[in-house]
Amino acid sequence: MRLHRWLVPTLYIIFLMLPIYWLLNMSFKTTNEILGGFSWFPANFTIASYVKILTDPTWYNGYINSIIYVGLNTVISVSFALPAAYAFSRYRFLGDKHLFFWLLTNRMAPPAVFALPFLQLYSALGLFDSHLAVALAHCLFNIPLAVWILEGFISGVPREIDETAYLDGYSFPRFFTKIFMPLIGSGIGVTAFFCFMFSWVELLLAKTLTSVEAKPIAAVMTRTASTSGYELGLLAAAGVLTIIPGAIVIYFVRNYIAKGFAMGRV
């Protein structure tokens, strides 16, 4: 029975790790060795691909650009969604239910549908090829999600706390920043995690809205794949490096994920 309990998660994790191992394996090979045939380990272990990526500005700028717009998007999404989530959780107002549903529908809008109109919109606004354009475009699906998650957390905090604070003479902004935000700290953490995640992995819009200045790492990867033949070793190393920021973020929020979900209604 005990062995049986361990079996399912272990097999699942092996299933998850195998493709990642394969990517890692390739990233330490030369392109010729990769194309040469099947092998479990690199015969001529090389870190040349990593050196190339970390020293060539066209490569590492892709990472910097991605991190800038993802960070910007996370900050915008969370700070805009907080007051809205509070309002949805605490008050009834004209059209609140319809508004909430309308917000959610935007989480369902397929980016493929919006790619072209987005290009026209952000060109017209003069934001094309800027980090802000991508950060704002990603708000389309991240703000609804942030409102949804935060609303769950805020509803988990008893109203009496708000009322006591008002009786104690706190003004609303002071109450909100000094008392309320620390209370839903783990909720803010979970929300930020999800915003980071969905903005980091989305590339269709990010690619459409940028050309040179704010080009995300994914676009750098596809361009390299088409111009210099098929540099598989380099692509694999670039792929491995895109996993690292995500892994760091997961490590920091690992305890909040479970706790956060359980506390909020999500």
Binding site: I13, P111, L116, L136, I243, F261
Partner: protein, 287 residues
């Protein structure tokens, strides 16, 4: 807990409304605009009424990609939801190993979608990829670049690899909210494993599972990057799901009218399904 009526709360929602409306309404109107017009270039547009809609609704190509889309979404839901629940039930409940499981399992969720596609593209190759090589070594004749069935299998397996963890995380969170006393009481009553699942664990997971199904439905319905990078919709049209077909029509063939009409039909369908789910969730919360 009764909410108070306060129309001033609108001011707190206004910034969100503004930023989402900018992103949603303007592009949506652009799409609506395209869907009723035709152009011969030079930015000259002619009003076409519902011509594109009739054309799309009667085209065999649209029906075929819609069918593939439903088949895909249905298959991954049937695999991912039970599998995710099973893993959440068997993984360690707390402590060091629970953290290890969570971190490792969440990893695929944070890999950019085109990297996921590229990774599986090589991983499944029959000559140099572990999966393709392994399957052929086991005696299967497998080559996803040539065989439609193999391509389907690979796309589904990739999605299971990529997204089952989301179901696991949500189900795990639902299970964590169960107080230990319930389990103790069940033990004293001599309840079977199945009874514990049916009457304690499943009801607690009901809400998170609805969310998991809703998220997986929406995301799989608009999946684009991963299958596009993996198979390019091929071989032939075997794995051309709705989004891939849409982008082909819009950017590949520059049929803006057809693509826009397809987008709107597509959007209305997701809207309908989500409205159904939303109503179900809201009903559940009232109880």
């Amino acid at each position: 807990m009764e909410k108070t009526l306060n129309n001033k709360a609108w001011f707190m929602v206004l910034p969100v409304l503004f930023i989402v409306a900018l992103n949603a309404i303007v592009p949506l109107m652009t799409v609506v605009n395209y869907s009723v017009q035709d152009t011969f270039g030079n930015n000259v547009f002619f009003f076409e009424g519902t011509r594109w809609f009739t054309e799309v609704l009667h085209s065999g190509r649209f029906h075929a990609s819609l069918q593939r889309q439903f088949l895909f979404t249905f298959t991954i839901l049937v695999i991912e939801i039970p599998l995710g629940v099973a893993i959440a039930l068997t993984m360690p409940r707390r402590g060091f190993w629970a953290s290890v499981c969570l971190v490792l399992m969440a990893l695929p969720l944070l890999i950019p979608w085109n990297v996921v596609g590229a990774m599986w593209n090589i991983y499944a190759l029959p000559d140099i990829g572990l999966l393709g090589y392994g399957l052929n070594w086991l005696g299967f004749n497998y080559d996803y670049t040539q065989q439609p069935t193999a391509a389907w299998f690979t796309v589904i397996l990739m999605d299971v690899w990529h997204w089952t963890s989301l179901v696991v995380l949500l189900a795990y969170a639902g299970l964590r909210s169960i107080d230990d006393n319930y389990y103790r009481a069940a033990q004293i009553d001599g309840a079977s494993r199945w009874a514990v699942f049916r009457h304690i664990q499943l009801p607690k997971m009901k809400h998170v599972l609805t969310i998991a199904i809703l998220l997986r439905f929406m995301d799989s319905f608009m999946i684009y990057t991963e299958p596009f990078v993996l198979t390019g919709g091929g071989p032939g049209n075997a794995t051309t799901v709705l989004s891939i077909d849409l982008v082909k029509a819009a950017l590949g063939e520059f049929n803006l009218g057809v693509a826009a009409a397809m987008s709107i039909i597509y959007f209305l369908m997701t809207l309908l399904v989500c409205w159904l789910f939303y109503t179900i969730i809201m009903q559940g919360e009232k109880e």
